[in-house]
Symmetry: C3
Subunit: 344 residues, 3 copies
């Protein structure tokens, strides 16, 4: 037996400043859009209709859903970042930049920006800043992620700790507003709901009502679509309970699609401020979603406003998030803090 | 908790003459065609091969399956018509008009053409005539559907009953024959069967033989593909038996694909005369299909004939439809009366 | 009940020299590529990225995975070759020729090249040489397959036995090297692994490590995508154990995708020398893959080398293939002998 397979990086393989150029760039297509539609059922009109997205233009399909960009970039990073990860700890400073089109080829690089060994000496935390690009040098997404990674050898010396200073929230004036975004004649009836940016108030909670019961084939197909190879998603022998652990991004996309009901005009994602996969999801779980309006801001485009939202995926009640101990309730699966663009 | 979500229309919200402009127009693509292929396995050559569909032309893929048009239009209507529906009661006067191409954006409107409160005072029947269009004003499909809808308030006054007078069958001379349809050099070997229009006789029953056992992930993916949001299809907590109810259109497409075996040359759908989802379908059911030739007619194109067919999806025997009491047998799932075009 | 359905050919229907022109040619698209991605998760860069596959060229998606060609051609043959087959016995002399692009329409013909009745008088072996073509006359794949087929009537006389003389291995100098293949500036980092053609040695065994637990919806969607209609894959009532038998090609594609881990640079399939579906696969089985290097050869392109590989899909240990009796171990599902092209 030879060792040509990729064992992944262990904690002691990372150095602050190291640049990882991720393999298998991926050309995204109309086919990926249809798979995404079948897996989540999104209805946001900017991604559903070319005529809505680009009135008057002759384009074959709309620019792609921002989460397709996110999943594709994330998938690229798995073999280099999280193959030996114990836990996906958090996201920060995520910004959606140029939007992608069918036919674009997405590649990704990551820079190691922080390292800290845990006190048990067996694992450590790795912070990376990842950038997705198309057409060789046009950035489409950047974000920071940190994961807990196993050491290959517990006796390896601990590195000097470097903990990056990350923004709690992407400032509203740092959001990238697509130059070609024209909402001057936005059709609220075709979009599905009448609620404008100004109709949402900070503190408001929206129960998105609908539920979806998860199945194994669907999350596996989603995870493979993004070339995410983490084995716990596919192999029932990889966990003692004989269950497949569902890729956290599957829950993000499902919750986002459910949030249409009440947030139909939150058409575009602008930033990911923070995110926690609070508890694991498994086939058989029935997922609902609710949102909380955290902040609101104008943008430099008078027809576009920014809304900061908390999106929660849960097996329980809308509005419930943490217990008296401050910890996430066991039924909460996802707590995602993001900025979206809505018409004013 | 705020109420920005769409609660759907209740019986007393409809008025005869009301026009509903449905939200989230949808651009259909090559990706949808591949999903449809994976979900049902159709083999009708007019949709399988560009070279068969348009000999000599340089097109990337054939015009899309008529049922893709049907499902997309139907999906658009769900949030406005059947979110609070108790039952989908029937179809009539369905006509397939211009055929759609990949890249077309489908939108839909419905007119309320009938209303009748039920004697229990809790529900009523709503009749709508729905039209799907592309390129702003080209109709691709029209049909009448009626559903039983809950009242929000049992005390709301009953409207003056209006029951539309609907044709039992679309007359053969009202069928829309595609202008670009050229079957002058039709290749029966490549189509898969030798049977021409004239080989079928009224009263003939065809057992399509093959069976498919249904699964939950497949019908959920199908239903989301058409942006159909009815929650009973996705959420096992929505029904007392903990099962997902399968979208009736999933059974239509499955039965149509099975009908290739014996009706391989019934390439195009021309009309839907009537349709009943006789009993609910669930994962684990094994579905077979059989057809009965109900009528035959020439068309204005000498190479094209019309055949009126009954397509039955069943868990039981071919040929069995109703019991001695005149009701559908419990194993019958679908009874669809339609016109198809075949080569002469 | 009429008999317009296709009962398939029985053993006595075949004649040596008979040409079967298979029905329902199929136009393959970007959508099929996305479905393939979702079903298997391949990462070979030549099929993942247009920029990797064709540096500098403006193409929308890369040429399609060779196994998409294989499955599409194979699917065409099922109604004429294996509808009444008891077993799929083997493959030989398979060669991948011109590679297909999205938008190509694939059709297939087969010639019966051998016939031999079994001593039980109830079945016989049929050998066919199948050719897939695009653009009317450009061959994309040819291979020999032999199957055991039922007789309609045990009393039918046995044909004179004709057993074709088949090559054990496609000679290295008969492999078709794509003319447009330019690996002069091959980027091993983007491909995912550093191992060149010359890094592999005959006898070397590679454990591809990862496992996937099979599900029914996935293999059914795969099988329908290729218009393969064999009923044992879809109908739980077709077998006494109430299980669906998984299409052997599903296991080939899954094993090939798993083999990326250790063979990331085995980008293109060149030939299928032999293949056995050693044991049936069912939903719930967890599949792993391992490879053995059987031979190595240069090609006329100095940047391209050929590697002959055994690819084994198994529910058991890497490296284990046959028992002391010389028979495949019960946990072995697939033993595929093929040539691949790698950069030198």
């Amino acid at each position: 037996m030879t060792s040509k397979t990729n064992a992944g990086y262990f904690f002691e393989d990372y150095r602050v400043g190291q640049i990882l150029r991720h393999a298998t760039p991926r050309t995204v297509t109309q086919g990926d859009v249809a798979m995404y539609q079948a897996l989540y059922g999104p209805r946001f009109a900017m991604h559903s209709s070319t005529e809505f997205a680009s009135p008057g233009a002759v384009i074959q399909i709309p620019k792609l859903d921002d989460l397709i960009t996110f999943h594709t970039v994330f998938g690229k990073t798995v073999p280099d970042i999280s193959l030996n990860a114990v836990a996906n700890l958090g996201y920060a400073e995520g910004r959606f930049l140029e939007r992608i089109e069918a036919g674009d080829t997405i590649s990704a690089t990551s820079e190691v920006i922080g390292l800290k060994e845990n006190s048990n000496g067996k694992t450590g935390i790795v912070w990376v800043r990842t950038t997705g690009i198309v057409h060789s040098d046009i950035p489409v997404l950047e974000y920071v992620r940190w994961v807990m990674v196993r050491k290959r050898d517990a006796a390896a010396p601990a590195p000097t700790p470097v903990v990056p200073d990350l923004a709690k929230v992407v400032p509203a004036d740092a959001l990238h507003i697509p130059e070609d975004l024209d909402w001057s004649a936005y059709d609220f009836a075709l979009a599905g709901e009448p609620h404008r940016h100004g109709d949402y108030t900070v503190g408001e909670i929206i129960d998105h009502v609908d539920g979806v019961t998860l199945t194994d084939p669907e999350h596996m197909m989603a995870t493979r679509l993004w070339q995410n190879t983490a084995k716990v998603h596919f192999d029932v022998t990889a966990r003692p309970d004989g269950k497949r652990l569902i890729y956290g991004g599957h829950i993000i996309s499902l919750a986002r699609a459910l949030s249409f009901n009440g947030l139909a005009n939150a058409q575009l994602l602008a930033a990911i401020n923070a995110g926690a996969h609070a508890n694991p999801a498994m086939a058989g779980d029935t997922i609902r979603a609710w949102s909380e309006v955290l902040d609101t801001a104008p943008t430099s485009n008078p027809h576009v406003g920014a809304l900061r939202l908390r999106l929660v995926a849960t097996k329980g009640e809308a509005g419930a998030l943490r217990g008296e101990d401050g910890k996430y309730l066991p039924e909460v699966l996802l707590d995602l803090d993001y900025w979206a663009f809505l018409p004013t």
